[in-house]
């Protein structure tokens, strides 16, 4: 069983904000990489215990969120320097040869109530909808995988990210490692104010988080083997993707629309 893992940092326990953890110049960036890699290793261990034979770890955090020296040696490590150009979008490096897609360190989509560090792509995005369904980074990528016949089976992140995954892919196995405490959507805010809005949260200790993740990842693989159709949903074409960007001092809310008759991947395969 071949597993693709998309990793991010904002949904990792102990990553308390973006402005001190998210970039190499930030003071807690190395701590961020340790915490993230620790959660990834727990997931990798659980996946292998559950029957995986190959795990490809795709470091999808903007500036990178993995310390390769700490990564489980059984995992393959993928770091793409930049995304392909418009018109040649791929589902990252995923293809039909994979059996399952998993997420570690995932944050909720922009505008999520009680989410921690929620955003979609950047803090500029207000909302993305595909065929009317609001999606974040999880949803866009899982739907692309779904189109390729790859099952989405596991996600770890804050509790709101787990709910988001369960809403779109009922039955997906999740591991919540922290709980956001900020009510309201913040839809009225510009990108800068929104970036620091959802920083209040209760975190599990990294070791407790890793124990939950390991257990969940193993369970996800076992269910994939046992339950036909697990991790798949029906989401037929044609596709229409609408993104609205937050208002800034220079511009009001802007909307972009992209459509495709048969495939989601050119619309949101990033």
């Amino acid at each position: 069983m071949k597993v693709y893992m998309i990793t991010d940092v904002e949904g990792v326990a102990g990553v308390v904000n973006w402005r001190e953890f998210g970039r190499p110049t930030h003071r807690h960036y190395e701590c961020c990489r340790r915490l993230t890699t620790g959660e990834i290793n727990a997931a990798v261990d659980g996946l292998f215990a559950g029957g995986a034979t190959e795990v490809l770890v795709d470091d999808a955090h903007g500036r990178g969120g993995i310390d390769p020296e700490l990564l489980d040696p059984r995992a393959l490590y993928l770091r793409k320097a930049s995304l392909p150009k418009e018109g040649d979008r791929r589902m990252r490096m995923m293809d039909e040869s994979f059996d399952a897609l998993t997420f570690v360190g995932q944050h909720p989509k922009s505008g999520t109530e009680y989410g921690h560090l929620c955003h979609t792509g950047s803090f500029s995005s207000l909302e993305v909808r595909v065929n009317g369904v609001a999606v974040g980074e999880f949803g866009a990528r899982a739907l692309c995988a779904n189109e390729l016949g790859v099952a989405t089976v596991f996600l770890s992140g804050d509790q709101a990210a787990c709910r988001e995954a369960e809403d779109l892919f009922p039955g997906i196995v999740t591991a919540a490692v922290k709980y956001g405490l900020t009510p309201g959507t913040g839809d009225e805010l510009g990108p800068e104010a929104y970036a620091t809005r959802n920083e209040t949260a209760i975190h599990f200790h990294p070791r407790r988080a890793r124990a939950l993740i390991r257990e969940g990842a193993q369970q996800a693989m076992e269910r994939l083997a046992a339950e036909p159709g697990f991790g798949r949903i029906d989401f037929p074409p044609p596709y229409r993707r609408v993104e609205r960007l937050r208002a800034t001092d220079a511009a009001p809310v802007r909307e972009t629309v992209r459509e495709h008759p048969t495939s989601l991947i050119p619309l949101c395969g990033a």
Binding site: A13, G14, V16, N17, E20, R27, C31, R34, L35, L181, E199, T200, A201, I202, H203, F204, H205, P206, R207, R208
Partner: protein, 284 residues
């Protein structure tokens, strides 16, 4: 039993001054985080030994005081609350409130790094005439919800302050200051330096003391009755804050009131506080 533990920083043993230890850019900030996390772990270990089932650690130091990689894994870490987000996340589900690394209020004598609020500007703050600092404000908020404060560790002056405020509270004193006057005549930057004299326990002795007292405190919680561990005030509520001259801005007084709701009063931002600027003062 659920314990809500407020983690401060200035009252930790081995944490020596405001310039190098408190701000994120300070040379010893990471060392301070280690010392604080060890004291919090000592308290948590005592609480769990006494029957706690959940310890929520509220990192109340700006930008942060705790190192989650070093924290006792049984604890939950709460991070990101604004200073005026009252009553923090204390609610009726909490069986006990505790403080670690607590400092004394502004104007205390023989105190180490005493101050009130996020700056070194406040001379004194009262609620209904009761002089309180950051310890007292949190105690008042918790008391309004019926949550008892059972344990405070910090410097000697902070422990005295807790004992004056609360009947039945258990304290653990890990250092003591030696500055004999309130220092009202000093400007903010000088005031911060003025109170940097102290005699400290070694960190390992401080942690052993904290563990022992925290365990005893939680063991005694069920025996508390009446107003022990609580400090209740009657409405109407009035908050008066006097602050010192800073950055050529004059000294002054803020007065806010609320007819019935103490928490609503505490949430009124101190917006009339002059901007602290960067050169003098600095953040606590």
């Amino acid at each position: 039993m659920k314990v809500y533990l407020v983690a401060r920083m200035e009252g930790v043993a081995g944490l020596i001054d405001g310039e190098n230890w408190l701000p994120a850019e300070g040379r010893y900030h990471d060392a301070g985080r280690r010392l604080l996390t060890d004291e919090v772990n000592a308290a948590a270990d005592g609480f769990f030994a006494a029957g706690a089932t959940e310890v929520v650690v509220d990192d109340a130091h700006d930008p942060e005081g705790l190192d989650i990689e070093r924290l006792d894994e049984r604890c939950l870490l709460l991070h990101g609350l604004a200073p005026d987000d009252w009553p923090r996340r204390i609610d009726e589900s909490c069986d006990a409130l505790a403080f670690v690394g607590q400092y004394a209020k502004a104007g205390s004598t023989e105190a180490h790094l005493c101050h009130t609020g996020p700056q070194w500007r406040t001379l004194d703050l009262t609620v209904n005439g009761l002089s309180v600092g950051d310890l007292g404000l949190t105690v008042l908020a918790a008391s309004a919800l019926g949550v008892r404060t059972v344990f405070v560790s910090g410097d000697r002056a902070a422990c005295r302050e807790a004992e004056d405020l609360l009947a039945g509270v258990v304290t653990a004193e890990v250092k003591y200051g030696s500055q004999p006057t309130p220092g009202e005549e000093w400007d903010a930057a000088s005031y911060r330096r003025l109170n940097a004299n102290a005699t400290h326990l070694s960190p390992s002795r401080a942690c052993a003391l904290i563990r022992e007292r925290a365990q005893a405190a939680l063991r005694g919680t069920e025996a508390l009755s009446g107003d022990q561990g609580l400090r209740r005030l009657d409405p109407p509520y009035v908050r008066v804050e006097r602050f010192r001259e800073c950055n050529h801005q004059p000294s002054g007084v803020n007065r806010d009131e609320h007819p019935s709701d103490l928490l609503a009063l505490l949430r009124i931002p101190a917006r009339r506080r002059p901007d602290p600027g960067t050169e003098a003062g600095g953040r606590a």
